[in-house]
Symmetry: C2
Amino acid sequence: MDEPKPLRPTSEATLRRLPIYHHLLQKRLATGIKTISCSQIAEELSCDATQIRKDLAVTGIKGRPKVGYDLAALILSIEIFLGWSRVRKAFLAGAGHLGSALLGYNRFHHYGLDIVAAFDRDPDRVGTKVHGREVLPINKLAGLAKRMRVEVGIITVPAPVAQEVADFMVSGGVRAIWNFAPTKINVPAGVIVQNEDLYSSLGVLLQKLSAAHRLR
Amino acid sequence: MDEPKPLRPTSEATLRRLPIYHHLLQKRLATGIKTISCSQIAEELSCDATQIRKDLAVTGIKGRPKVGYDLAALILSIEIFLGWSRVRKAFLAGAGHLGSALLGYNRFHHYGLDIVAAFDRDPDRVGTKVHGREVLPINKLAGLAKRMRVEVGIITVPAPVAQEVADFMVSGGVRAIWNFAPTKINVPAGVIVQNEDLYSSLGVLLQKLSAAHRLR
DNA sequence: TAGATTGTTAATCGATTAACAATC
DNA sequence: TAGATTGTTAATCGATTAACAATC
């Protein structure tokens, strides 16, 4: 009699909004308030209160009518739901500009991610340290990933070699890939790929700018 | 009698996919082929051919039944539609890790963007050069933006100062902001904001990983 | 000509928004 | 109690997918 519902996965739109709420809530927590309502969040973010209520509901939090949500409990509920309460090990491949920038983000571990090592093909980079993490040769990636039980791979190599690197990660047992290369990577079923394509974002921005131009 | 239709703006989903097609098309162009059909693209990207056809249609391209699209014409059509054929000047605020990484992207000008200068508040950074661009003090941003007719602002400063920087950009006449700070920025109507929130992406990735875990 | 592919209209699906009862 | 806010069901909206005529 337990769990008979088909349980559709949470929509990507909702998942993308939860971290935005989380950020606002933490800002509010710092001011010392104890509770917050959907209408307050909606006001601040200029979005719809009902949508926020539905988004928050997926995390399992319960609010109190006339009061709202307990701020600390809500923050924790989002963190647990998003998987930020357990830190997962990650390998980063491609210690160029973008890769180095990501290695420099020292708050990722608050968000469930610990980049434990970086890999590169360039012998000039191998052996150096970037933000405290040693850069290792790319051919060690798969073996070390398996040995260290690394769950996440971050791809910041150029597009032409992204697939090859993804294959190394998969063979090392990595189960989720954060792909910053502007190209499609093919992985076996069950491996999660999250694409982060800067050119797509830039395309959206510039097209809107062009369209606004045309209207005037 | 011209243009009486209400003309809904192109959906963001379509805008995000166009650069992905563009990348694939350029890869194909390099192999020497002259035409391509939607089913070929769909096969390569594992997505729906009808969707691709509709996406491409917004750019105004016309295909030929039984043949497909002229590859070079299609690439150009996407570039013109996205506004990549005219290069716009951009200022970047925040010459830290991520800002430096973006300054190092030397292909942005192929995609309609030319980052002409960087700004920072830290006196230690001001005066240095990052990837060939001088770092200027942040208080010069608004005046210079106006004088140089800079249209795009890129925000890579920490969240707490993002709003202040956005205000400088707006007062300098910038009409589109690419915001990498994980916080909402308020701008007057007519100014375009494109948010690029790494924590949102990370949230999506890790939640899916957690959810996959729970199922097993 | 026959068949593959485009372009477009209709049907489906899912996400957002509105309505409203439950509750503190 | 009255009123604000949650939780949930229904209505709307838009995007994706299917169907099919037009065309090369």
